[in-house]
Symmetry: C2
Subunit: 236 residues, 2 copies
C-alpha cells in the first residue's frame, strides 16, 4: 500500500512537493522510506503521486509523478458541532466522523457540558486524530477543528441548514428532514446530559430544525456517529 | 429517572417480578434503593412498572404496578455478524449497535481475523455490555450473543436477506440495496484486514448481497456502527 500524507495546498509548487518535519520523520524513522520511494500527497481535493528526492530533519522534498482528483472526498460539506466529552469520547467521534466524511468540527460548550473549555493541547490532539483518520479513509484533506463555541455563538458559525438532534424530539426523523440534494449543512449533537429546553428554543429561533435520531436513547458518541452516517448515506 | 432492569420472560409470574442477585446487589449497593422504590422491569417487549417489596442477597422481589408494550424496540429484526477484533473494539460495536437496535450478534471468524476463537469469558463480557446498553437505550430486551462461527457456518445461522459490506465493492450502496419494508435481515461486517475474494464468492453463492458503505475506507468499528445506523433509519 502506498503511504498517504495530507499536505497544505501551498506544499505543491510546480513539479515539487514539500513535506513538513513531522511527516519527514515518519517517512524516515517509522516507514523507513528513502530517496526514490513513492508516496501519495493529498492536497485540496487532489491525490498527487510523488517520488521522494530527499528526506532530511527539516522536511522532505519530492517530484510529482501524476495527479488526479481524490475519489474519496464527499460531495456534501458537513459541519459537525459536537460536545466536549469526558475521557477520549469526543476523540472517538472525531475519528469516526472524519472517516465518514465530516468537513469541519465545531467543539460545543453547552449548559450541561461537563467541560467549560477546550484546552489548546486537546484541540491539537483532535486535529492530529482528524488528520490521521482522513489519511486512513483516503480523503484528500483533513477536517478543521474550530475554537470552542458557546451555544449562542454556535449559530453564527454554522452553515445553514442546521439540524439539531434532540432526544426529546419525536418528529421529524433526521433522514426525513434532510433537504434532498443539499450540498452544505450542519449537524449539532448535544452532550451526555442532553440539551436544555432553553437551548433548543434558541436553536429554533435561529432557524435550526430540531430532529429525532429514533426511538432509542443513544449515548452522545453513538448519536453523533449514527447521524453522520445517515447524512452521508443520504446526500453523498 | 426510573432505573431499568432487563429480566428474562420467566421472571414475571402473576403480579410478581423476580430480579437476580446481581441486579439486587446493584439496587441495594449502587442505587441505594429500598422496599417501596419503583423500578422498571423490561421483559420480552414489555415495560413493567414494579414496586420493590424485598431486596436481599439472593435476589429482589416486587409487585407489578403497570405494564405496557415497550416503545423503544425496533420493528425490524437485525442480526449483525461482526469480527472479533483486538482490544475492546468489538465491545464498542456491541455497545453502539445494541443502542441502535440490533437484535442478535454473531461473532465471526474469518480468514483475516486475528482471533481464532471467542473465549467464553469474552462472550460473557459481550453479553453484559449488550444488556447494559439495552437498558440505557430503554430497550425491552438484550440482544443475544451467539457462539463464534466460521465463514462457511455463518450463512446457515443468518436470517435472509443477508447483506455483506465489502470495501472493494463499489455498487450498490447498502441503503439502495435494502428491501423496503423488510422486517428481518442480517448484516455482515468484515475484520480489519478485509474479507478475501474467496469469502465474498462463497457469500454470493449462499445468496448474500455484497454492498458498499461508500467511497471512504472505514475502520471495522465505524463501518459496523454506520451500517447499523443506516439500516435502522431506513427500516425502523
Amino acid at each position: 500500500m502506498t503511504h498517504r500524507f495530507i499536505v497544505p495546498g501551498d506544499a505543491l509548487s510546480g513539479e515539487r512537493v514539500r513535506f513538513g518535519p513531522e511527516q519527514a520523520r515518519q517517512m524516515s524513522t517509522v516507514l523507513r522510506l528513502g530517496a526514490g520511494a513513492r508516496v501519495l500527497a493529498l492536497a485540496q481535493g487532489e491525490e498527487v503521486e510523488v517520488r521522494l528526492d530527499e528526506i532530511g530533519p527539516t522536511g522532505a522534498v519530492g517530484t510529482i509523478v501524476a495527479r488526479r482528483p481524490a475519489a474519496a472526498e464527499p460531495r456534501v460539506e458537513l459541519t459537525l458541532a459536537l460536545p466536549i466529552l469526558r475521557g477520549a469520547r469526543s476523540e472517538e467521534i472525531v475519528e469516526a466522523a472524519t472517516q465518514l466524511g465530516v468537513a469541519r468540527f465545531v467543539p460545543l460548550l453547552s449548559a450541561r457540558s461537563v467541560a467549560r473549555a477546550l484546552p489548546e493541547a486537546r484541540r491539537a490532539r483532535w486535529a492530529r486524530i482528524a488528520r490521521e483518520a482522513a489519511e486512513t479513509a483516503h480523503r484528500a484533506g483533513a477536517p478543521g477543528i474550530d475554537a470552542a463555541r458557546s451555544w449562542p455563538e454556535l449559530f453564527d458559525a454554522l452553515p445553514a441548514p442546521v439540524y439539531v438532534a434532540w432526544e426529546e424530539q419525536r418528529e421529524p426523523r433526521l433522514l426525513v428532514a434532510l433537504e434532498p440534494g443539499c450540498e452544505r449543512l450542519s449537524l449539532v449533537v448535544g452532550p451526555e446530559g442532553g440539551l436544555t429546553e432553553a437551548e433548543v428554543a434558541l436553536a429554533r429561533e435561529r432557524g435550526a430544525t430540531i430532529v429525532s435520531l429514533g426511538r432509542r436513547t443513544l449515548r452522545a458518541e453513538t448519536a453523533a456517529i449514527a447521524a453522520v452516517a445517515q447524512i452521508m448515506a443520504a446526500l453523498d
